[in-house]
């Protein structure tokens, strides 16, 4: 079986097992890299990465993903003090077709796992739900591949809001 036929077939099998209602929807694979900044100005920016799998149907997307925000360093001291966040999430996205480029607006809930480290020792781990919003611009390069740029705003992750800017890509299997 060729690769072009295999991936949609795999997607169909997976969706049949996981979410039968979306079996006839498009399967999406997203990957993004960027930078995150906490609203607490005592901390530095840190790298942001996320990956998601989702389904698209009639202008709506449902995504399941994982965000990784690494090492916001405390800048008011020379001592090594960092906060990092891992956050699996579920998101609903509305696609808005604007001809040349598509606009996507999303709302989601993440399960933020926040770790505070001091001198490379874990001081505390917190787990809590944190809502977020996303705005992205998506440009289709071809049927399979798209490029993305966007912004994710996470609300109240262990005391600080976090703004993330990213560039990314998408594979769509229709």
């Amino acid at each position: 079986m060729s690769k072009q036929k295999f991936l949609p077939a795999l997607a169909f099998v997976l969706c049949s097992l996981l979410a039968p209602a979306f079996c006839w929807a498009d399967l999406l694979l997203d990957g993004n890299l960027g930078s995150g900044s906490p609203s607490d100005s005592n901390y530095s920016s840190g790298p942001f990465a996320n990956g998601a799998v989702g389904f698209s149907e009639q202008g709506w997307q449902l995504r399941l993903g994982y965000m990784h925000l690494d090492e916001f360093e405390l800048e008011t001291t020379d001592k090594p003090a960092e906060i990092s966040v891992r956050a699996p999430y579920l998101e609903i996205v509305r696609e808005i077709d604007a001809n040349i480029i598509n606009i996507e607006v999303g709302l989601g809930a993440s399960y933020a796992m926040t770790k505070a480290s001091f001198y490379n020792r874990t001081l505390s781990r917190e787990e809590e739900f944190a809502p977020f919003a996303e705005l992205a611009l998506v440009k289709d390069v071809n049927e399979l591949f798209s490029l993305k740029a966007g912004y994710v705003y996470m609300k109240d992750v262990s005391g600080s809001d976090i703004s993330n800017y990213f560039l990314g890509f998408r594979f769509s299997f229709r």
Partner: protein, 282 residues
């Protein structure tokens, strides 16, 4: 017969090797129980906004001139010294706003780090032997009259997490004024400071250095802090000082604290230190 004739040679070699090693060896804390450790801990603040700590750990006895270097303890990877103006690191819990809480922890907690040092002199009030292994660190000054804690935290051993001392209140030397000139032989110098208070000992060291390279120091102590100390005419005189020299007057207010009882013994003290420099002549 051959064996017996070799024995003195072997013994001599062993002694020589032992002598060679004794100069730079230290003992690791890994095989030393907490109740075999004597801890000497000193804090001082100099008005710069920081509090400095120095810690020296020795086996069974306080550090002294006669202690060999292998009586000074170097911490293994399993042991840590922490210095705090808050809760000791072992009992510290943070939650809620982690960003804010971590910033507060960084202000109030310091991992005291160190290694073998080769400073040739310490502070005049100090009981540390800085030419030997010791540990040091610093924190931002907490509120006036704050209590500071030094903690030895051990994996697989008994912690000594609560050696505490309260820092004397900050003060300023109001007399003499910087740059004033006094005769070492004919003038008395009234050293005054504000504020003054109870429960501290006052020590003053006058260090004089002259353009020809000659130096001398004079130290005096008073058990009560009444806000002044008088240096009598002649106190700063020395045969090797001549002409116009620079004299720094360093005043230390000292308070003792409580070493953790898990140590075999210990000493913890806190010192507020201020210096004023004047000119002295014959």
């Amino acid at each position: 017969m051959k064996n017996s004739s070799m024995t003195p040679v072997v013994m001599l070699l062993a002694i020589l090797l032992s002598a060679c090693n004794s100069g730079d060896s230290v003992v690791s804390s890994s095989n030393i129980a907490t109740n075999e450790i004597y801890s000497t801990m000193e804090l001082h603040a100099d008005g710069s906004g920081m509090v400095y700590v120095g810690v020296q750990l020795t086996k069974d006895q306080p550090p002294s001139d006669t202690s060999s270097s292998d009586e000074y303890i170097e911490l293994s990877a399993a042991d840590e010294l922490w210095f705090t103006s808050g809760v000791n690191m072992r009992d510290l819990e943070i939650e809620g706003d982690l960003f804010d809480a971590l910033a507060h922890v960084a202000k109030t907690q310091e991992l005291v780090e160190g290694t073998t040092r080769f400073l040739d002199e310490g502070f005049f009030w100090s009981r540390l032997f800085p030419i030997q292994t010791y540990y040091d660190g610093s924190l931002e000054v907490a509120e006036e009259g704050a209590t500071y804690t030094v903690s030895l935290l051990r994996e697989g051993g008994i912690d000594a997490k609560s050696s505490t001392v309260t820092m004397p209140f900050p003060f300023e030397i109001v007399a003499p004024l910087p740059g004033e000139t006094y005769s070492r032989s004919q003038d008395s110098i009234l050293v005054e400071w504000l504020p003054f208070g109870a429960d501290v000992q006052v020590e003053l060291e006058a260090n004089t250095s002259c353009p020809d390279g000659s130096v001398d120091s004079y130290t005096t102590t008073q058990a009560v802090d009444n806000g002044f100390l008088l240096l009598n005419a002649g106190d700063l005189m020395s045969d090797n000082l001549s002409g116009s020299c620079s004299t720094s007057l360093t005043l230390a207010k000292s308070r003792l604290g409580q070493p953790d009882p898990a140590f075999v013994g210990g000493f913890i003290s806190a010192h507020q230190v201020r210096t004023v420099s004047v000119t002295t002549t014959d």
